[in-house]
């Protein structure tokens, strides 16, 4: 069941098309990575989902309603946007006490979320004295105060140290195990690759991929390298089948967009001996970079 439904979502800022007819779904109980380079339109999309920015076209629904229609929104949706939106002179505890009243949560919930994000000892310090990582944790505490079913997190790993990133990953996993639906944005695929089930990838305002992580990598191209004394013969045979190839040295042949099975079968048919074979898949990061490359970059690849 889709908890988040985005349909034809579009936002123009003057002549700039920040988000261009984007549609995607996030299933209940899943963790989806919302990926794309900086400026791809991720934050604008999240802000439209949260009713902070009015879409130029299209709809963004959470549980079938627009955010502004939700009663008690903090009990339905928790969001972390930028890490700096706290009043610097207020303590973390006071900030969360305010959020707790808005969310109709019990005062005890403040201590619970402080403990959950590891800020119990620093709760009575002013937020202005917090590090970026601590502000991210406080943002998460605020998002969790109403114990919401859906979490929308914009670059929550920013400012976290490696230990913090691991902590975040475990927190998100445990929340998903308890049926929470999470959409987490990042401009670094590796940051979320170990956490997410699915990915939604934006580039320059457009949706470029929406799939599971496995589907994303299975679509990745493979490079098959074989060592054979008759490399040029095999090259012309593969060339006849439109497989791009490249000779490396005297006896290595590199073939793209094909499989080792195909190359091996063809060689056997022609009686070409193969002494050695290696297969390399493009990794996830390369797939991501390729999907989000600019035209110029794509041309040079």
């Amino acid at each position: 069941m889709s908890v988040i439904e985005v349909r034809g979502l579009t936002k123009r800022f003057g002549s700039v098309l920040a988000v261009d007819h984007v549609s995607f779904d996030v299933e209940q109980g899943s963790i989806s990575g919302f990926l794309g380079p900086n400026g791809a339109g991720k934050t604008t999309t999240l802000r439209m989902l949260l009713g902070l920015v009015e879409p130029s076209e299209g709809t963004a629904l959470i549980g079938g309603n627009s955010y502004r229609e939700l009663s008690d929104p903090l009990r339905r949706v928790g969001a972390v946007l930028e890490a700096s939106s706290f009043y610097p002179g207020r303590t973390a505890r006071h900030h969360l006490q305010i959020q707790a009243i808005v969310a109709k949560a019990t005062p005890a919930r403040v201590d619970e979320v402080l403990h959950l994000v590891g800020l119990s000892r620093d709760a009575d310090r002013r937020v202005g004295d917090y590090s970026l990582g601590m502000r991210q944790r406080l943002g998460l505490a605020g998002a969790l105060i109403g114990d919401p079913e859906v979490l929308l997190l914009d670059e929550p790993a920013n400012g976290l140290d490696p230990e913090g990133v691991r902590w975040l990953r475990e927190l998100l996993r445990s929340l998903a195990e308890r049926g929470r639906t999470i959409l987490v944005s990042s401009h670094i695929l590796a940051e979320v690759a170990q956490t997410v089930d699915r990915v939604v990838i934006l580039d320059r305002g457009r949706l470029v991929a929406q799939s599971s992580l496995d589907e994303l990598t299975s679509g990745a191209r493979q490079i098959v390298r074989v060592r054979t004394p008759r490399a040029d013969e095999l090259q012309s045979a593969l060339g006849a089948e439109d497989v791009p190839t490249r000779l490396v040295g005297n006896d290595w042949l590199e073939a793209k967009n094909t499989t080792p099975e195909h190359v091996g079968t063809l060689a056997a048919k022609l009686g070409i001996p193969i002494f050695e074979s290696k297969t390399e898949a493009e990794n996830l990061e390369e797939v991501f970079l390729k999907l989000t490359a600019t035209d110029q970059e794509r041309g040079s690849r």
């Binding site: 949260l50 955010y67 930028e82 939106s85 006490q97 009243i101 808005v102």
Partner: protein
């Protein structure tokens, strides 16, 4: 709505700025009041104050609440612009997507806080005036009811100006620009308009608030009656809020 007003009041109680503003308003009111009371009957040529045994002299000291009233207006501006200065509007609107409700809650909370500015200032001016009058052995030339009405006017005027400030801040959003605007409005625009067109004085919002607290007008112009001045300030607060709700409050929060 009660919950939202509670939230806005808690927001104000958990930061230092409102207390700093209130302390500044109280300190300056005390300084001005004591200076005026001690120089009453013997002031300088540009700013002479009648002796405290005259209605004019006593009123002049009692109405030193005007600085605290403009500080209440500034306080209201800060209540709304602070959300944009620190990007906390995002958090506020996530909790309460109905932005008009947020605006109303802020106006009410600011009015409660603003009333405190008026109350503190009225307590200071009344206390200082009474101390000077009794220490000099003068008769009290204004009745208790009049003095109480001036104090009530200061409280009411400050509360309503703070609500106006919330609306002005919602319209302008930039804290510095909004604060400069309200100071310029109160100390320059209203003074110039009121000075050039005496008959317009009673209808100028800050001047109307001052007359609620007992201030007299140039050229012997009669101030608006208490209820009419109150109604004028309520109307300004409502009108500015409606304009803000229909325009800037709806804008994207990025």
């Amino acid at each position: 709505m009660i919950r939202l007003i509670r939230v806005e009041l808690l927001k104000l109680r958990t930061i230092r700025l409102p207390f700093g503003l209130l302390a500044a308003a109280a300190g300056l009111t005390a300084l001005v009041t004591v200076l005026k009371a001690s120089r009453a009957g013997s002031g300088g040529r540009r700013m002479s104050i009648a002796p405290l045994y005259t209605v004019h002299g006593l009123t002049s000291v009692l109405t030193s609440t005007d600085f605290a009233m403009i500080m209440a207006l500034v306080f209201g501006v800060i209540v709304s612009t602070g959300e944009f200065r620190h990007s906390t509007a995002t958090t506020t609107y996530l909790g309460t997507p109905n932005r008009v409700q947020v605006l109303v809650a802020k106006a009410v909370a600011a009015a409660v806080g603003g009333a405190l500015f008026g109350a503190v200032a009225a307590a200071i001016t009344t206390g200082v005036a009474l101390i000077f009058v009794s220490s000099k052995g003068y008769p009290l030339v204004l009745g208790g009811a009049t003095i109480a009405r001036y104090a009530l006017g200061a409280v009411l005027g400050s509360a309503l100006l703070a609500a106006v400030g919330v609306a002005v801040g919602s319209l302008i959003r930039s804290q510095v620009v909004a604060i400069v605007t309200v100071f310029a409005w109160g100390f320059i625009v209203e003074q110039v308009i009121g000075g050039l067109y005496n008959a317009a004085q009673p209808y100028l919002p800050y001047t109307a608030a001052r007359t609620l607290a007992g201030a007299t007008l140039d050229g012997g112009t009669a101030p608006l009656p208490f209820l009419a001045a109150t109604a004028l300030l309520v109307a300004v607060a409502v009108l500015a809020s409606v304009v803000a709700a229909a325009t800037t409050v709806r804008q994207d929060v990025a």
